[in-house]
């Protein structure tokens, strides 16, 4: 059963998407205008065209890249429902849009005469893609989810002299997410129309979570999204009990981006995850903990604890820091 699922998920459906994306336009190549309509205005009339071969190569290339990414994730032993869902969504979306484009252009003499593709068709295509995404989610199953978040690490402490003050800045960035955003913009350009707007919104969200900036000072811990550090949020020191270093495993935190951590391990902690690796966990009393991935986490957490200690807060003896 698991084997059938894996074959479906890793071979049959990706190969099917690729076959449709590339095969359908090539099969009907003789009955398509060159250039063919590939972009429709919001009112449904065609307003952009390119060579069928170029269009097919681009769409097929994107499907191929997504497929390779799916296999790489599998090889690392970290498949997740979310990654399969996103991959299936993208692949099936491209396949369906290719079919729609071929249907609209079939047997017309010049691309401006192509059949109208309005919002209902675009929405239908998006729904089919969402359905495939859901299928990917289901096929991955629960067995693939890794074994829960890494144990909370120690709470480092920085030495701070009596009259001394300090501020700390750190950031984390993900090249992978940046590339994904660029890829999505590419998809939007290729598909055009209403779906492109949706894909662009997703690309925008991805860019915001491709980097995070963290600042620590006596005024609290400030977390800002993106390379530009906005929108940002400040957690005052008096809301924090202590800071710990932890090794963040995105798939155990529920994925990338802003997360409410599933399961009971971190008591519904909130997390800003841009990459795998070290992060700071702010343990708060009444409120949920806050986890943020950041380079140099030990130094940042150390300063938080030093500032807390200076304020006369007695830190509970860590290591282990379990709740």
């Amino acid at each position: 059963m698991t084997r059938v699922r894996s074959v479906l998920r890793l071979v049959v459906i990706p190969a099917g998407s690729l076959a449709v994306t590339v095969g359908v336009p090539l099969w009907f190549l003789g009955r398509l205008p060159d250039p063919m309509a590939r972009h429709w205005s919001a009112s449904g009339t065609p307003d952009g065209a390119s060579s069928p071969i170029l269009l097919t190569a681009l769409a097929g290339g994107v499907v191929l890249v997504v497929w390779v990414a799916l296999l790489l994730v599998e090889r690392r032993g970290t498949p997740s429902s979310a990654s399969s869902a996103v991959a299936f969504f993208l692949m099936s979306l491209l396949a369906v849009l290719q079919v729609v484009a071929v249907w609209a252009n079939l047997d017309v003499a010049e691309w401006p005469e192509a059949r109208a593709v309005g919002a209902p068709v675009a929405l239908g295509a998006a729904l089919v893609a969402v359905a495939f995404g859901g299928l990917g989610w289901v096929l991955t199953g629960s067995g693939a989810v890794p074994s829960g978040p890494a144990a909370a690490g120690p709470a480092p402490r920085m030495e701070l002299g009596a009259g001394e003050d300090a501020v700390w800045f750190g950031m984390a960035e993900s090249r992978g997410l940046a590339v994904l955003a660029v890829l999505l913009v590419g998809v939007a350009v290729v598909v055009g129309g209403v779906v492109a707007a949706l894909v662009l919104v997703v690309a925008g969200l991805v860019v915001f979570f491709a980097a995070v900036r963290v600042g620590v000072s006596e005024h609290g811990v400030e977390i800002g999204l993106g390379w530009w550090g906005w929108p940002r949020r400040r957690i005052p020191l008096d809301e924090i009990m202590r800071a710990e270093v932890m090794d963040v495993e995105p798939l155990a935190m529920g994925g990338w981006g802003y997360r409410v951590v599933p399961g009971s391990m971190l008591r519904g902690a909130r997390a800003v995850v841009v990459r795998r690796g070290p992060g700071i966990r702010l343990v708060r009393g009444m409120r949920p903990d806050l986890v943020v991935t950041v380079d140099g986490a030990a130094q940042g957490a150390g300063l938080v604890n030093a500032l807390l200690e200076r304020d006369g807060r007695v830190l509970p003896p860590t290591p282990g820091g379990g709740d």
């Binding site: 501020v167 800045f169 750190g170 000072s217 005024h219 380079d295």
Partner: protein, 125 residues
Amino acid sequence: MYCSSINGTMLLRFDRSDADPIYDQIAASVRRSIAEGDLEVGDRLPPARELARALGVNVHTVLRGYAQLRDEGIIEMRRGRGSVVLAGGRSQARLRSLARELCAEARRQGIGIEELAALIDEEMS
């Protein structure tokens, strides 16, 4: 003041009892960490606005500190690209840091400028 940087992260320490203006302290801290090799050529200083928020001071105060470093040829300030440590910055920063330390020590010992100058003169020859 003291600061250090590890790939994009940066720690700035300063003395709250220091009588120098904040912008002088900011400049001195960056200078020292460059001199000690904690900040390297090409490293980026935190955006002035971010540092100002963290220190609870006006952004112009921070920019004044950065401008001081720029005028000394230690950093380069580029609109939109932030402030970056320059190649020649290291030796400049080291000299400035040492001079600053020397002057502070002289002041502590009650040594006047002439006596200090004589001392330097003696060392140089």
